[in-house]
Amino acid sequence: MSRSTSGGARSGRRAVVLGRTPAGRMPRFGGAAVLLCAPFALLLLGTVLAPVAYALYLSLFTERLSGLGFSGPSRAFVALGNYADVVTDPDFLHGVGNVALYAVVQVPLMLGGALVVALLIDSAVARLKQVWLLAVFLPYAVPGVIAGLIWGYLYSPDIGPISAVAPIDPLGANGILPSVVNIATWQWMGYNMIIFYTALRTVPRELLEAARVDGAGPMRTALSVKLPSIRPTLFVGLVFTIIGALQLFTEPLVLQSFTGAVTSTWTPSLYVYDSAFVAGDYGRAAAASVLLGLVSAVLSAVVMRISARRSR
């Protein structure tokens, strides 16, 4: 194998010596490039493209028990019937509503908190910057399941201190949404804070100095100079947080061990899981998966387009 590649390289070397071809910027190295790309291309095909195609296909069919059920289920084409079922299913809509409400609260809260902490650490008076950075970043090291478990215990009456002081039961029907918001905020605030802080460090120091010379106080500098400078980073953080919110799954699932307030279809992702593995309705689960993926993909595409335009 390596012998044939070095042979290919020798012919490539000739191409280099002869100079660049007018058609392509680079000499052609088919063999080596195929070897370098093949593992990823195969993975992409097998674990992304094929599943997407399969989900699209499955979402158009439903399994029906034929006759008396002796011959097992048969697959029947229902066109967009599964999609219609999903978007008219009150359970699904309830999950969408939960996630929408969650996003409306969690996204500004978490990003706002991250931004405030980043600005505080970036401010001229702050000391021990590394200590604050590390302390707030630490929860990012905790996987979602374990974050859910820790907070689940902290919310539990008799074990954690929170239910004693909170105005509403954190594991009750009304308290569960704020509780999930809090877990996600705890987990992701430090991560976003580090990203915002790094962006703040790239604001030209001369600009800040100019603002200071011109008499802007630290608050004014933060709001009028620093914030506009990192607006693109804030926007990227915003869209990624919204996409993360759409996929909300792990934390509510873990909390199910602590409370009955999280239903089995509490978020769209839980709905997919429940449809597939509890109800066994793969067509409906695939349709819900496709819808979920589609909304996330559109949002990601928007953010990629915007950041590509920015870097140009």
């Binding site: 052609r28 992409l44 992304v48 505080l120 401010s123 008076v125 996987p143 008799d158 993926g293």
Partner: protein
């Protein structure tokens, strides 16, 4: 642009600058005094760290003390007994989970990053038929969220009788389209064409050039991709949850989750879940402390660049 206009507008109103940054005319905002800044930072730090402190104190308690003593105080030192119970539960299944996590996330991240870097390098630096198509499809792959893939992956795996195997979790998590995107950026920035041409003139094969010349030049980017992918795999829960039923194949998070579903019926699982969580988090936190610089540059590379 808008920043500089704001500054100019301020300068028209403002007086001469004061040495300390405070200036005559207007009082500095109370929100930016040193005390207030540090008080707010202290609150943020406590919010972030206290739940982990709770995890440490609770790991040292017996089941009885766990529900009777206050959350953040130490009771009788019961950590050794908890650890013994943890490691002996179900024939030491916890150690198997730890090993699996290292395999899925550790080996997966290194191997996955190598695969992505090779592809990203080839897309950036070699001309071959289908190069543009491959990159366009890769970008599409970035858009597909992993949660939406888990169900079709499970159904495909069941067609191929791969459900409940190591590979059903390991292989999908190797795929990291965003890593290819990053690797292409790094290759373009860090590997000059002249160096590659020099290597070719010296008679180095293309694969050898990648491993001996390009990969070392891309090392900071390569490490970044490893770290990204490690966190991604470590945090992925949906895929192992749907793929695996044999506890011997579980990663730590899935195993701890399974134990946690039993605590309401069997309270004796509480110390196991808590001590196990501590052990699962501990190595990552140590890695964060040791690799602080790499983490930070790595995590921010994707978002700020």
């Amino acid at each position: 642009m808008s920043a500089s206009t704001t500054v100019n507008a301020t300068s028209a109103v403002g007086g001469p600058p004061g040495r300390s940054g405070r200036r005559g005319g207007r009082e500095p905002s109370p929100w930016t005094s040193r005390t207030v800044v540090h008080a707010m930072l202290g609150i943020a730090a406590l919010y972030s760290v206290l739940p982990l402190v709770w995890l440490v104190t609770s790991s040292t308690k017996s089941l009885g003390d766990f529900s009777t003593t206050s959350a953040f105080e130490f009771a009788d030192w019961n950590l050794p007994a908890n650890l013994r119970a943890l490691f002996s539960e179900a024939d030491g299944v916890f150690l198997a989970w730890a090993r699996n996590s290292v395999l899925y996330a550790g080996v997966g991240a290194v191997l996955g990053a190598l695969i992505c870097t090779a592809c990203g390098y080839a897309v950036a630096k070699l001309d071959f038929p289908g190069r543009r198509t491959l990159f366009a499809v890769t970008l599409t792959g970035v858009l597909v969220p992993t949660t939406a893939l888990a169900l079709p992956l499970y159904l495909m795996a069941s067609e191929f009788r791969l459900v409940d195997t190591f590979w059903a979790v390991f292989l999908p998590l190797l795929t990291n389209p965003f890593g290819v995107y990053l690797a292409r950026v790094y290759a373009e920035a860090a590997v000059p064409d002249e160096v590659l041409e020099a290597a070719r003139i010296d008679g180095s094969g293309e694969l050898k050039t990648f491993f001996r010349v390009a990969l070392p030049m891309m090392r900071p980017g390569f490490v970044t991709i490893i770290l990204f992918q490690f966190v991604q795999i470590w945090n992925n829960f949906f895929l192992p949850l749907v793929m695996l039923t044999d506890p011997r194949l579980f990663p730590l998070s899935l195993g701890l989750y399974q134990w946690s579903t039993r605590v309401s019926q069997f309270p004796q699982y509480n110390p196991l879940v808590i001590t196990g969580s501590l052990l699962a988090v501990f190595p990552i936190i140590v890695a964060f402390l040791v690799l602080q610089r790499q983490w930070r540059s790595g995590l921010t590379a994707g978002s700020v660049k």
